[in-house]
Symmetry: C2
Subunit: 405 residues, 2 copies
């Protein structure tokens, strides 16, 4: 058998998680495996014993029994922002109410203030260390939302920062326009004007830079009708749809996401059985965010129930300065297992293939010929060590598009 | 002012946590601070503006606003062992009972088997990566217990491994003899013979290598009377006392620890208000282990209640292959805040000064002249970021006895 010229060969992988069901089971595990990449793509996977011997690779790695998994796909983040809210976190942990926090100048509007004050360069400089930490911890693709500008210029600057960081780092970033995060501070008594701004001038500027439109559909943010209108405007501009739904209470957002055929419905903490059945039928991916429940001391998402309802499940960090300053998918995998009832296999799948589906990406999340060579060599013999050792700093080498990071 | 010759000067520390109450508050924070070490000791702390200008240091670090905290003291670990139990963890997460796990060859006796099969060199090689990970994550002193041998030779080999790792790594390890972890597998129907073995030949060999004696005092392990006898024998050999108590149920161990004047009472999950009052009166330190509750999905220790009872509180990893494969104190600090109700300040104190007190060490856990220069420069402006960013990989530089690790 002759392969395309190989740029990277990894052999003696103790456990190769392919997510390709042709190899059996949910994760398609091959033991004592090898993988070959050419350029940015996988060209061969199989047992080390069957590795084509004419493979003349530039780089050869002997994994010496370590596990290899697909690169993590973090499908829900707000990782581009300025400032931090550590004091607010400490207040909340000491029992302060949301009203106390607002009175002390905290809450989402404090991040909006800091982000508005930042230049594009400030925003990039503040965010690159987070993105770098994500990458070295194994995340090879991440979605990032706007939504801390809430005015046309700052929303644009956030999207420009996301695009700029995508250009200057190896990670792939997927930009989402979230002008409808909360109502802009200048519009508190004129919310319909803010909705018009989002659907009109803001969207017009944002659409060329964004891949998705997102709305925080909740009693504390935007109504079902407002969400419907904003989503429709976004689709008219060519954006696909993801929605924050049913996080704080059941306001009907999950059902709306299913009705609209959204790519993903995120949070879904309070979705009913009927809501989940509708998601499953619509093929909308549920993105679970157990890091938020951890940091907010709230009930974790019931991953078991969502998975068993037949919904396609992704898990993500929700990295943001207010409710979950979480950067690594390995911690989220641990939380998904320990607090949300997924098995280690399901949690890994949800962090890789599930994340890719939640972003509508069909070229990653699976290690099979033709797919992107995005993968992680773990400092462990099995992916199960990710949840078994929740602070184990497991990634050993991260490979993005066939190149060692 | 003239200082002893300085070997290390760190200036422009945004927030120096000294744990020295003369600087105010629980943590004795000095802002825009500097610290000077000579050899392995701190010789000066104060504001950067007052840094003696005749300080002629070999190494100068500008912290550029980063926070500096005392090195973490992890007062309860079982970090020296062979093998792992990732499969058992996955079974438990999928709902398997303890009986199922035993039937599949899991449980503590599987670690005993693996540890008995290991040579001294195997044991050292398997454990050094864990100890190294602890060190680079900011732990500068750790207690390590025997207790996976349960026979004279293997218990001795575990203590020899602890001493060897202490010698070959910069971290300080404190060895504890825990022959009374559970009854040895050969003695299941002859438990009094096992107690005699522990108190007799095993202790005789172990005492010269160990600093403490420990007993797992619980319905599933050793009774109050057995614990009393073993502790007494240990004291006669010059060992101080720490006890595993009231972890699985209230069997009276916390009260016994107070009565015996143990240095520490560990777990104390089920201690009553009276038990805690007795600990406070005795000056016995409570070592809380929230990583166990996390990994076992059990109720977390009520740190708020223990602290408010006036007990001196430490927090520790309990690093072990069965119930908490946790290596970093930053994760434990996060858990102590988020799940056990300590404030970020209290959790940091418990991870540093509290840990030192739990090990009877008066030369560390505080950054003041004369104390060991064990400290961590954080990649953050405040120690509060440790719990705010639970997977933030915060340590930037670790300094052990005045030297950069």
């Amino acid at each position: 058998m002759t392969l395309a010229p190989a740029s990277l060969v990894i052999s003696h992988i103790g456990e190769l998680v392919t997510n390709d069901p042709t190899h059996g089971g949910l994760l398609g595990v091959i033991e004592d495996a090898a993988i070959v990449a050419s350029g940015d793509r996988v060209v061969w996977v199989g047992p080390t014993s069957e590795l084509p011997d004419d493979t003349d690779a530039i780089q050869r790695i002997d994994a010496a029994g370590a596990a290899v998994v697909p690169g993590f796909v973090d499908a829900h983040t707000h990782a581009v922002f300025a400032g931090d809210r550590a004091d607010e976190f400490a207040m909340r942990m000491a029992g302060a109410s949301y009203e106390d926090i607002l009175a002390s100048g905290g809450g989402i509007y404090s991040t909006v203030r800091a982000t508005r004050e930042a230049t594009l360069q400030d925003l990039v400089s503040a965010s690159v260390p987070r993105i770098d930490h994500m990458l070295v911890s194994g995340t090879t693709t991440a979605e990032v939302k706007s939504g801390y500008g809430l005015d046309v210029e700052t929303e644009m600057q956030m999207l420009e920062a996301i695009v700029a960081i995508d250009d200057i780092t190896p990670i792939d970033l997927v930009p989402t326009f979230l002008g409808a995060h909360v109502v802009g501070p200048e519009y508190k008594d004129r919310r319909s004007e803010y909705v018009d701004l989002v659907m009109g001038p803001m969207l017009e500027r944002a659409a060329p830079l964004a891949r998705f439109i997102d709305v925080f559909c909740d009693d504390a943010a935007f109504t079902i009708d407002e969400t419907r209108a904003i989503v429709s405007a976004g689709r008219n501009r060519g954006l696909d749809v993801r929605l924050h739904v049913d996080q704080l209470s059941r306001s009907g957002g999950t059902a709306l996401a299913a009705e609209l055929g959204a790519t993903s419905a995120d949070h879904v903490d309070h979705a009913s059985d009927e809501d989940l059945a509708a998601l499953a039928l619509a093929g909308t991916v549920a993105v679970l965010l157990p890091g938020v429940s951890y940091a907010m001391r709230s009930a974790p998402p019931d991953g078991r129930k969502v998975w068993d309802a037949g919904v396609t499940v992704a898990i993500a960090t929700d990295c943001n300065p207010g409710t979950a300053y979480v950067e690594t998918m390995s911690f989220v995998i641990s939380l998904a297992v320990v607090t949300s009832g997924l098995t280690p296999d399901e949690a890994l799948w949800a962090a890789t293939k599930g994340g890719a589906l939640a972003l509508g990406l069909t070229d990653r999340g699976v290690l099979a010929p033709g797919m992107l060579a995005d993968m992680v060599i773990l400092d462990a013999p099995s992916h199960r060590h990710i949840s078994y050792r929740p602070d184990g700093a497991l990634p050993l080498e991260v490979i993005k598009r066939g190149s060692l990071v």
